[in-house]
């Protein structure tokens, strides 16, 4: 399992934290010591055999890894290709998010931190953070946009039951972007004893790289499992949804340097890319700086960050991780914009065909399948990043 944490030779982050022209650490001086402490220690901590042993053990015994790679026969038949689902929805807490929070809580412990702060959109990262804080006995504060607190109420209750304090972010659009602002402000106010567990491959270096490494277990397992099932390690396509892009980064990681594998990222088009109510960052954004990194972000001509919209709280973010901006920039990734309606339909479709109710975020990945021009010999792996229980109130409006 050691290879999970080994850097890739290209598409890897530079020592200054850049992926091509994206990345870096655009942070106020108030955060410099914290981020620098993390930058100087994360690779060393993660390479420590004792850390590795504890991380792998928890992934196995607590998270439930490896997660299955499931051949979705009826879906395959429908789309006319061989489709495997990487079942991250079967992770403890119901999504891939916990791969990262397990890793980061172990890093936080080794840095001597006493308190954890996090942001959350759909609540999945908040729940995954609250979970590992309960496991390790650390205080946990989660910022969540007040609009998201309403539309993801069950996750708010779960976090509270796990002992976390959930604080509403009431500024701006009151969604993920604003929750992230508040978590960063909290970190500025509590720099010494607090670790900020960012939930996606966003933020200042080293976060995008650290989170990608923790999530890279997804593609490591895909390779092994696909080989065991088919005799080949590389599928033709890996498909994942991208808000900030952590499940996509994990699913792509070990295929980044395999040009025969097309990497397909799906963004939330909301009511339509040109509707003014969208979160399709690469379609609508341009290079800029948000939450500590240079990336592609949705913004006005004057450089003010645009309020995104998606039916999915986890994709409702105006930027993407710098790695994904680089994949888009270089043409290494194919980016699709999926509307609310297409995603909902794909969610119902998978439920009825395979008996799996996906998170609405994940449904955006599934919705790309009919649009990819697949042929019968194609082997496709879709990262089934999360389960849909949290979204039932949204899905039920379409029943």
């Amino acid at each position: 399992m050691q290879s999970t944490l080994e850097p890739q030779t290209s598409f890897a982050v530079t020592d200054k934290g850049f992926y091509g022209r994206f990345g870096g650490a655009f942070i106020p001086e108030m955060l410099y010591p914290n981020v620098e402490e993390l930058r100087q220690s994360y690779l060393q901590i993660m390479a420590d055999p004792a850390f590795q042993a504890e991380f792998q053990q928890l992934l196995e015994d607590y998270v439930g890894r490896p997660t299955p790679l499931f051949l979705a026969r009826r879906l395959s038949e429908q789309v006319g290709a061989t489709v495997y689902l990487k079942r991250e929805d079967l992770c403890h807490t119901g999504a891939h998010k916990i791969n990262n929070t397990i890793g980061q809580i172990l890093v936080a412990q080794r840095l001597g931190k006493k308190r954890i702060v996090a942001e959350t959109g759909a609540g999945q990262h908040g729940v995954a953070t609250a979970t590992v804080c309960a496991l390790m006995g650390l205080e946990c504060i989660v910022y969540m946009g007040s609009i998201d607190m309403e539309r993801q109420k069950p996750n708010v209750d779960r976090m509270r039951m796990l002992g976390a304090e959930v604080r509403p972010a009431t500024s701006g659009s009151q969604t993920l972007k604003d929750a992230t602002n508040e978590a960063m402000r909290h970190w500025i106010n509590n720099p010494v004893d607090t670790h900020y567990i960012i939930g996606s491959v966003v933020g200042p270096h080293p976060y995008p790289d650290m989170v990608a490494r923790f999530q890279s277990v997804i593609s490591e397992e895909i390779r092994k499992q696909l080989f065991a099932k088919t005799g080949r390690e590389n599928p033709d396509y890996v498909v994942a949804c991208v808000g900030g892009g952590s499940n996509a980064a994990g699913a792509f990681y070990h295929f980044l340097n395999e040009p025969s594998v097309r990497l397909v990222a799906t963004e939330a088009a909301g009511l339509g890319v040109s509707s003014g109510h969208s979160a399709a960052t690469t379609a609508l954004g341009k290079p800029g700086v948000l939450h500590g990194s240079r990336t592609i972000l949705m913004q006005t001509e004057d450089g003010q960050v645009t309020e995104p919209y998606s039916i999915s709280a986890g994709l409702d973010y105006p930027g993407i991780g710098p790695l994904h901006a680089h994949l888009f920039d270089t043409g290494r990734g194919d980016f699709y914009a999926i509307t609310d309606d297409d995603a909902i339909q794909a969610g119902f479709n998978l439920s009825k065909l395979e008996g799996i109710i996906p998170a609405i975020e994940t449904a955006h990945a599934l919705a790309a399948l009919p649009k990819m021009g697949l042929t019968p010999t194609d082997v496709v792996v879709v990262c089934l990043s999360g389960r849909g229980d949290k979204d039932l109130s949204t899905y039920s409006k379409y029943l």
């Binding site: 655009f26 001086e29 108030m30 500024s171 509590n190 010494v192 450089g303 003010q304």
Partner: protein
């Protein structure tokens, strides 16, 4: 040391005056779009030593609620860098006090860094504070442009900044060093604690080549006075924004505010 800007209203000011300097921050286009010059005139008439004009941004992560809200209101009013430079176009016919622009890096990047520096020069802006543009990135990518137009880049230090890094920042800074008073976002009203005094003392003892102004949490005469015991002066922001909101932008009102800070 790459710095080379020696002649500028800010450096001139510090050459003439080295203590009890008062720098006041306000947000451009707040409370109303056309208030920028009114407030600027009011501050000059009230005798402040420097002014810091906030360039409003949608996501000001280093700022507390007061400045966040003034940024939001200014954007609602239609403020932009283009509008701000238009408002400041002929201000130097009457405004002699040094002017800094303070804000976040993304709007400046979208405006174009060279275009931005050129406009600063054209309207008579002397320095810029961009908290989320770290020094190493500034030096690598933008320092030459700033220098070519004679615009100072003011850097921040905090209680957590290491001595080594403070020395580096001091070597690479011109004008003054912005000492963030405590581990906090703007707008604190908790006063000045013993650990803050110890930090102020530590920095004073380092005998930096640049003068120092203390900001964040300076909101009344007492905090201003204390800050001035340890540095060359202090910066007031959120308290002034609250004053503008509650008491308006008249010269008398601004004079009264500055009066309460100074004495």
């Amino acid at each position: 040391m790459t710095s080379s800007i020696t002649q500028n209203r800010i450096t001139d000011l510090f050459a003439q005056k080295s203590d009890r300097l008062l720098n006041v921050y306000f947000t451009a286009g707040f409370p109303n779009l056309d208030d920028t010059l009114t407030v600027l005139r009011g501050l000059q008439a009230a005798g402040v030593d420097l002014v810091e004009i906030g360039m409003p941004y949608s996501d000001p992560v280093a700022d507390g609620e007061t400045i966040q809200q003034s940024n939001g209101k200014a954007l609602e009013n239609g403020m932009s860098l283009k509008t701000l430079f238009a408002q400041l176009a002929s201000c130097r016919q009457e405004i002699t006090v040094p002017i800094l622009l303070m804000g976040y890096v993304n709007p400046v990047l979208q405006f174009g860094v060279e275009n931005f520096c050129q406009q600063c020069r054209a309207v008579g802006v002397d320095g810029v504070i961009l908290p989320d543009l770290p020094l190493d990135l500034f030096l690598a990518e933008y320092a030459d442009i700033f220098r070519a137009y004679g615009i100072l880049n003011v850097n921040l230090i905090t209680p957590q900044t290491s001595d080594e890094r403070i020395r580096h920042i001091d070597a690479e800074s011109d004008g003054f060093i912005y000492m963030v008073s405590s581990a906090s976002i703007t707008g604190s009203t908790k006063g000045i604690s013993e650990p803050m005094r110890a930090y102020f003392d530590r920095i004073r003892a380092m005998q930096l080549r640049n003068p120092r102004l203390i900001g964040f949490g300076i909101n009344d005469h007492e905090t201003f006075d204390t800050a001035c015991q340890y540095a060359n002066g202090a910066i007031v922001g959120s308290a002034f924004i609250r004053h503008l909101q509650d008491h308006g932008t008249s010269p008398e009102s601004i004079r009264a505010f500055v009066g309460t800070i100074r004495s």
